[in-house]
Structures are given as structure tokens and as C-alpha cells.
Symmetry: none
Subunit: 402 residues, 2 copies
């Protein structure tokens, strides 16, 4: 629990004011050519520029300087949770990513189909990148596995990837990966580091024994390894920490899952930004806080497609008037991390933040871009403090001390 959340617990105030957090995934970028602008600076964004002129800019650091975050820590930071305090295991993230609703009793595991040879050594760690249509049928077979004392769920993700969930009392999440990270050796045995995790390890062992029998004729996917064995972190609800009724409008399941982790209501987002805007309008009276997620600034960055990331940024800009027409008290446009097309990956570069509110103190910035954000009034700050700014600018915090 961070220091700021200690305060927001005490100082939170119920009001009718509305906060919109518009997250353009991977928003921050880099110039492709020396002397050029970033994706955001190259995009024509008249609506965001107008807000930048009236509001205030800044840069947020998702985790720590130099650290490139995954989607989990990136979003937890935006929601006001210290991503170093609340860590999300690979298995949990994989389950969130397929809309699987985890309970506090669940252990989630990322599975990889693999190939083993006659000696039981791994010959291919990804089972020849087995096709999804085959792997999904194998998952259905594995989903039939029964182990006394726990419920077993097996769900296919994509190609060789799957999710296994064990649900039962007294399980722990502190079990090693069974993937040895190389071929020519057998999978590692699961071992629990404490009592409850030893119980989980025994269940993993039973599951793997049954799986070996079930899959024995399914070369190349004749076994699986387990990774990221973990329980979901015990994240206090947004409603408790900030007193907010929060709704999430996200097209992709991973981001719905992250919103679910902090106990937001998950609203039907449809498939397009227009659908999302329609949902925002329809749900306007029901919530104080809206998390709206836009994926394509990240995926185009990951693809290394600079012009397409520019185009997607312009698409985002075009939805701004629809949000402003609802009269939010505080609108924040930002990302969960940077994804420069130049790098084709998430990066550590600080993330542009645009905060508009009638109570924002203006700065000298007149357009939304990384270079202007450097001299923005919010300064450079840890992402976990963004919620403090949001709450304050919406008049949802009492004074601290007399």
C-alpha cells in the first residue's frame, strides 16, 4: 500500500464529478529519423493540442527510470498501485488475457505444449509451434483431468500456449517453472517453497502425470511445461482506496482483466472506438471514473509501423470531442508505457500525460507531444501518483491536516 493510497483512503470525498482516463497503450515513442518527431508529434492531433493549451502536460515513469514495463505493471501504475508492490505472475496475466475470472483461491499457470522424445527429454520447447486448431482440441482433453480436492480448468490461448487453473483451499503460488529453458533434458519437477505451495506442486505433478498419458500419441505436442505459477495479487479495490465507482471500457480481454484486478466494473466495449464512445455516453451517469483503453498505438508500435501508429494516434484524437461533449471534470490522456515503432517493443521512456480540467494550472505547452511534455506543469512523476492528480482535479479529495 503506497503512502498516497493511505491518504486517499482518508481524504476521499463523494461528488458527482467525472474522471475519464483514456489510455492509449504504448503511447510514447521515438523519432525514426534524426531531427524528426515522435509518432505523437508527427500525428495531427488538433483536439488533444487544444486540451494541452488549456490543461497541463507531464511525463510519467511507470516503474523506475530505465525500466520497461509489461502491460500489468504499466496499468497498475496508472490505477495508482505501486507496480513493485503488486506483482502479477505470468500465469495470472495469461488468465486475465483470456477473460478468465480468477478467484482468490485460484492458482494460475501458463502452459506451453512441448515435444518429448522416447527418453522423456524435451526435443522442442514449443511443440513445433503446434497449430491453434490442434492445440485447442488438446486443451479440451486436458480440461477433463480430475484431481481430488481441486477444480481444474484448462483453456487454450494461442498456438502452443495455454492456461491451467487450479481452484481449491490452501493453495500457494510459490512453485518453480518446470520448463528447463533448454532441450535434451527432461522437464523439471515442480517444487513448492512453502506449505501451501507444496500442495500446489503435488497437484501440478498429478496433473502432469495424467497429461503425459492423455497426450502420449499427440506428437509433437505430447507434453506441456508449466511457467509463471502464481496466485493473483491481493489488490485492494479502487472503490475502497479512492471511493470511486469505476467502469472499464476495453476491447481487449487483457485490459478488462487488469481492470477486474482492481475491481472495476467491466462494461461492454464493443469492437471499435466508436462503440467505446457510445458505451461511455450510455454509462455516464452510473460511474465516477472511466478507464477507456485503446490498443492500437501499442500494437502498431510493436509492429514497427511508424506511419500506422501515427494514423492510430489521429484516430484516437478524433474521439476527443465525443468525450468532451460529456463535460468530464477531469480528462487524462496517457499511455501505460512507451512503445516506439523504432524499437518494436515496450520501452522505458517516460510516458506523455495530458491532463485537462478547469482546475488545471496552465503551463507554456500548446500541443501534445513528448518534447512539450518535458516542460509541462505536472513535471516528471511516478505513474502511481497520477490518480492523486485525477482525484484532486475532480474535487474528490479533502484537505490533509488543519
Amino acid at each position: 500500500m503506497s503512502d498516497l493510497q493511505d491518504l486517499t483512503r482518508k481524504l476521499q470525498k463523494q461528488t458527482d464529478s467525472k474522471i475519464v482516463l483514456l489510455v492509449a497503450d504504448g503511447l510514447g515513442g521515438l523519432p525514426i529519423e534524426k531531427g524528426g518527431g515522435t509518432e505523437l508529434e508527427t500525428a495531427k492531433t488538433p483536439n488533444m493540442d487544444a486540451l494541452a493549451k488549456e490543461g497541463t502536460l507531464g511525463l510519467s515513469t511507470p516503474v523506475l527510470p530505465g525500466i520497461s514495463p509489461g502491460s500489468g505493471p504499466g496499468h497498475l501504475g496508472l490505477f495508482g498501485y505501486d507496480p513493485l508492490e503488486y506483482q502479477i505472475g505470468r500465469g495470472v496475466l495469461e488468465a486475465l488475457g483470456i477473460d478468465f475470472e480468477l478467484t482468490p483461491d485460484d492458482v494460475a499457470i501458463r502452459g506451453n505444449f512441448c515435444s518429448i522424445d522416447a527418453e522423456g527429454n524435451i526435443s522442442d520447447r514449443r511443440a513445433g509451434r503446434v497449430k491453434s486448431e490442434i492445440a485447442s482440441k488438446l486443451c479440451e482433453k486436458l480440461d477433463q483431468i480430475e484431481i481430488p480436492g481441486v477444480e481444474v480448468f484448462v483453456r487454450h490461448v494461442k498456438e502452443y500456449r495455454l492456461v491451467i487453473v487450479f481452484r481449491g483451499d490452501g493453495l500457494g503460488g510459490n512453485v518453480n517453472d518446470t520448463d528447463p529453458q533448454r532441450t535434451g533434458v527432461p522437464p523439471l519437477a515442480p517444487v513448492g517453497a512453502d506449505g501451501p505451495s507444496q500442495r500446489t506442486a503435488e497437484i501440478c505433478t498429478q496433473f502432469l502425470e495424467q497429461a503425459r498419458e492423455i497426450l502420449k500419441d499427440d506428437q509433437p505436442a505430447n507434453l506441456l511445461t508449466m511457467r509463471g505459477i502464481d496466485m493473483k495479487p491481493n489488490v485492494p479495490p479502487l472503490s475502497e482506496v479512492y471511493g470511486l465507482r469505476a467502469g472499464a471500457i476495453a476491447v481487449y480481454p487483457m485490459y478488462r482483466g487488469l481492470a477486474r484486478l482492481v475491481s472495476m466494473d467491466i462494461l461492454d466495449a464493443g469492437q471499435t472506438l466508436d462503440d467505446q464512445m457510445a458505451r461511455l455516453k450510455a454509462a455516464w451517469d452510473d460511474y465516477d471514473f472511466f478507464f477507456v483503453h485503446f490498443k492500437y498505438t501499442d500494437s502498431t508500435g510493436e509492429d514497427g509501423n511508424f506511419p500506422e501508429k501515427v494514423r492510430r494516434t489521429e484516430e484516437l484524437d478524433a474521439c476527443i470531442p465525443k468525450i468532451m461533449a460529456l463535460n468530464p471534470d477531469c480528462l487524462i490522456v496517457t499511455g501505460d508505457h512507451s512503445t516506439p515503432a523504432k524499437m518494436k517493443s515496450h520501452s522505458w521512456h517516460p510516458v506523455p500525460v495530458l491532463l485537462w480540467s478547469d482546475l488545471a494550472r496552465p503551463d507554456a505547452c500548446d500541443s501534445f507531444g513528448e518534447t512539450q511534455c518535458i516542460t509541462g506543469g505536472l513535471g516528471q512523476f511516478p505513474a502511481k501518483y497520477l490518480m492523486g492528480f485525477a482525484m484532486a482535479h475532480a474535487g474528490k479529495l479533502e484537505k490533509f491536516g488543519a
Copy 2:
């Protein structure tokens, strides 16, 4: 004890150099009109602008991003104490505000005169906002209350507000408010959360029984409720933490009280800024550090009076040459928090800081205002680090490490 104070304890150095901390209460502001300047930016401040050109600017965050501080946390931060570590209860602040000198054995309580009906239920939580001339006489009667083992002090504040202090060995400050925050119910019984606080609660109970008898014919003020029951925080003296002989020149008792909390000497401030400047000159040789407090940038902000806050800022600017004539080694002009006239209240917006010293590294700023402060050389920093800058620029800190 904060990290910086760990260091200043070890590295402090006695010198003849002088530091002046000029606090314009509530200094930071907001534009009233879109595209306009803040109060500080609108004010004509040629003297501070000249210092800004030679010195360096910055912005301080009193507590945490988004948190609007009261006067207590605001000033503790300026004096170098983490306001989250040293919290000041309402009763203590009320006692400080009437120049009552608290000892470490004192429990201070904010009292509110209230009206109770024949059934003992509260019918008015503020006793019809009883007039000060009546309430002060009632306080004199209550001041006669005797309780074995403790000294009792009752002092009138204003209208229905009073301060009660119990002085004795082994008291605790962890007692609930007796004000039920609504009418039609009796006051709550005081309950202590630990041994020493149980003793305090018993004394509160005895006091309230006697008060009920004494006030029984004094409708509408025929009882009182107790709030903010607390002992003063154990704040280490400024002399020990920084090795400073510090003098406070504040017209208003609250700020003398806050200075007393960190063991400054309280100097006679007179009534006007001119009086304060005369005192500063007269005491110049006796101290290393002067805290000079100017109230009216806050009170005009609280009133929502933008032009008057501008005028008061100009009044402050006019005193700068008198300070500079004394040849301070380091002069800091800042506030304890922002009080934008637009909001008529304290706010979370970071606070403009101007630091002048012959050793200040210049920045590109050439006038003192919020927008310029964003790009000032001190950056944006937690207020509790300001004393580090002050000490350094006055040559009062040795090198850390070899």
C-alpha cells in the same frame, strides 16, 4: 526522521551566514480567466523578478501529488519535516493558534460549545454560534474546573470554539471525538485506545460531567463536545537537526505556534510587514535563520479576491529590498501551499519557490511566476527538501563522504 535530516544532523556546520525564509502563505494560484496569468504572474514584482534573474526557481510539493495541505503540514514541510511523519491534531493546532505554549505532557482538545435538550440530546452542534463575549465568560467558568492529578486550562478561541488542555504525567492522545457529527443524539463517550489514552478519556469524562453542571443554565451553550484530542508531535528541534539558531517573525499566532513546534525562538513581529522588517533588522546578529510569515496572500485567496491577492503580493515584493539590504546569504521566497482565488481554498498545486544566493546556479527564468517555476533550476521537489537547499546555499553543510 527523514533521510535528509539524517544527513544534516551529521553535516551541519556553524557559520556566520544568514538564511531568510520568507513565507507568503498560500502563494501559488491559478488564472481566473483562460489565457490569463496567476495572481503572482499578474502582480508587478520587480524586486522578486530581479532575484529570479540572478537566482533560481522551482516548484515544491508540500505533501504528495494531488494533496491539498492545511497550514500545519504545509509549514512542517517548509521547515524540513516530513508532514506525513509528524501529524498535528486539530486540538494541538487550535492551541498553537491562540499562542498557548504546549509542553510534552499536554493533551490539547478542540472544544465546541453545543446545545443539549432536556433528554441530553444535542439540538445544535454550535450552540447557535454563540457570541464571543458570552462564550469567553463561559470559558473562564470552565477554567475553574479542578481534576485531581492534572492541571486544566480552558481558553476561548472564537464564537463557539474553545481549547481545553490537560497537563499531567502519563496522558495519551488517542481518544475519539465526542462530537457525534449530528443532532438528536447525545454526545459520544470519550474512550481511550491505549492505557495512557484511557487515563485521558477518564479525565475528559470528569471534565464533561463538571461542565454539564456548570453550564446547565447557560442555554444555548449548555454543554460542549470535544474533537481532535491529541498530544503535540515529538518534533526534533531545528537547532538539533540543522544546527540553526532560528527566529520566527510571524504576526498571526498559528504560525508562531508552528514555529514553536520546531523550537524556533518567537520574536515580536508587531502588526505589519514594516514591523516585521524592523524586527528582522534588529535581530539580524542574533540568529542564523529567520522565518518571516506573511498571511495575506492566503486570506485574500481564501476570500476569492484575485485583485487583492495581487495587491498583497505586490506589498510583499516591496519589502524585498529591506531584506536584501541586510545581505542575507540565502533568501527563499515561497509559500506553504497554493491558495488560488479561483478556488477560495487551499489547493494541491505545487508551490512557487524563489531561491536567491550568490551560489545559486542561474536558470533561464527572469521573473517569479508559476509557469517560469516549471522550468526553474530547482525542478519540482518535495517541500521537505527545501531546507537542504537553504543550508547548502548558505554554506552550512559539510561534504558527505570522502
